[in-house]
Assembly symmetry: C2
Homo-oligomer: 213 residues x 2
């Protein structure tokens, strides 16, 4: 049996240490490093072989979803197992659509972590119960995006949602970006439709979860 080289992509180094300690019980699973940001993940991949990445969704700077997309594009053979406390369908679907082999919820036990990694390394998908339940339940407020009908946010929309979540009014955002208030409103409408939320509150939660604020 060959050794699986694992990179832990998580803001906290101490978490990688914990995983490393847990995986010491699985001789073929080897934590070879820790990357705190999406950028660090890509740099690491460029200069060292990696078999599997345990990837947090809420990475700082470039988050896990964006990093997932880049990793999949540049290194299609590297497996990625999403690893996060978030279980909302938005994040589970996003990661899977961007190429993740599975979604492991962060409060998993040592046994589940090992099982999940082994499952994924056998080319089988792995979803923690909470993540699976989330995908079965579907979206909350609309029927627009069943299953995989995934719509990413544009750069401009990300700028807007960040400012919205930081308590800026439409007027302030318009002035800051040198655009009309109406344009800001249009972006907000698109955001709310895409993210299946009813109000500002949903936008704020999304931005917070993805660690954009």
């Amino acid at each position: 049996m060959s050794i699986t080289r694992i990179l832990v992509a998580d803001p906290l180094e101490v978490l990688a240490v914990g995983l490393s300690s847990w995986l010491a019980d699985a001789p073929e699973l080897n934590v070879i490093g820790h990357a705190a940001t999406g950028q660090a993940v890509l740099e690491r991949l460029a200069k060292e072989p990696v078999d599997l990445i345990l990837m947090e969704v809420s990475l700082p700077e470039q988050d896990g979803i964006d990093t997932m997309r880049e990793v999949h594009r540049r290194h299609p053979k590297v497996k990625v197992l999403a690893y996060s406390s978030l279980t909302d369908i938005e994040y589970v679907n996003s990661m899977l659509i961007e190429g993740a082999s599975g979604y492991l919820v962060k409060d998993a036990s040592q046994a589940e972590v090992i099982t999940a990694i082994r499952t994924v390394m056998c080319d089988k998908p792995y979803l923690s119960p909470a993540a699976r339940e989330s995908t079965l339940r579907g979206y909350d407020y609309t029927e627009k995006r069943m299953d995989g009908e995934y719509i990413g946010l544009t750069e401009r929309e990300r700028e807007i949602i960040r400012l919205v979540a930081l308590e800026r009014t439409n007027d302030e955002i318009a002035k800051a970006l040198f655009i009309s208030v109406d344009t800001v409103k249009t972006h907000r409408k698109h955001l709310m439709t895409k993210l299946n939320v009813r109000s500002l509150a949903g936008l704020v939660r999304y931005a917070r979860d993805r660690n954009w604020i």
Copy 2:
């Protein structure tokens, strides 16, 4: 030198494992257990001696701030070192006012963790740089709560802020709680004043950070 018995209060067991691994390098510091909820912390304290608790602010069910208050009331001799990724002044001040001996930011290195624990065990306060900076900068939108003028939220206010953050409208909240819309508005006003925020967005972030939603 006597042994320091440390309880790690954090939703993730794997984090406690990581800390335990790090503290293996400090012979007198000993992780004796892990508690995932505030309730579990109190149960543990009731039946086993503990010298220091590393406490996450965002514990599920009963969060770190509330647990801090209870621990301090029931076991005033147990030291608590707050341990969280959150650096906003609201959380730092809340924990310190409720009796924490320090505030350690979660991306701290192994060396800083050990230093922080040793500092606190010598009866000296410890604040990570980011936490100290936050307290020096002060509050964002008003001057109402300088320094320690800390105002806790009432039970009713917590119910309201949760529902608000879950995208419920004032009208829906009123119906759910069998009270008038005006009352809901009054609670919202109080919340916004207490938490120094300008809009719904600030309330949502607060509720999310404290793991109430």
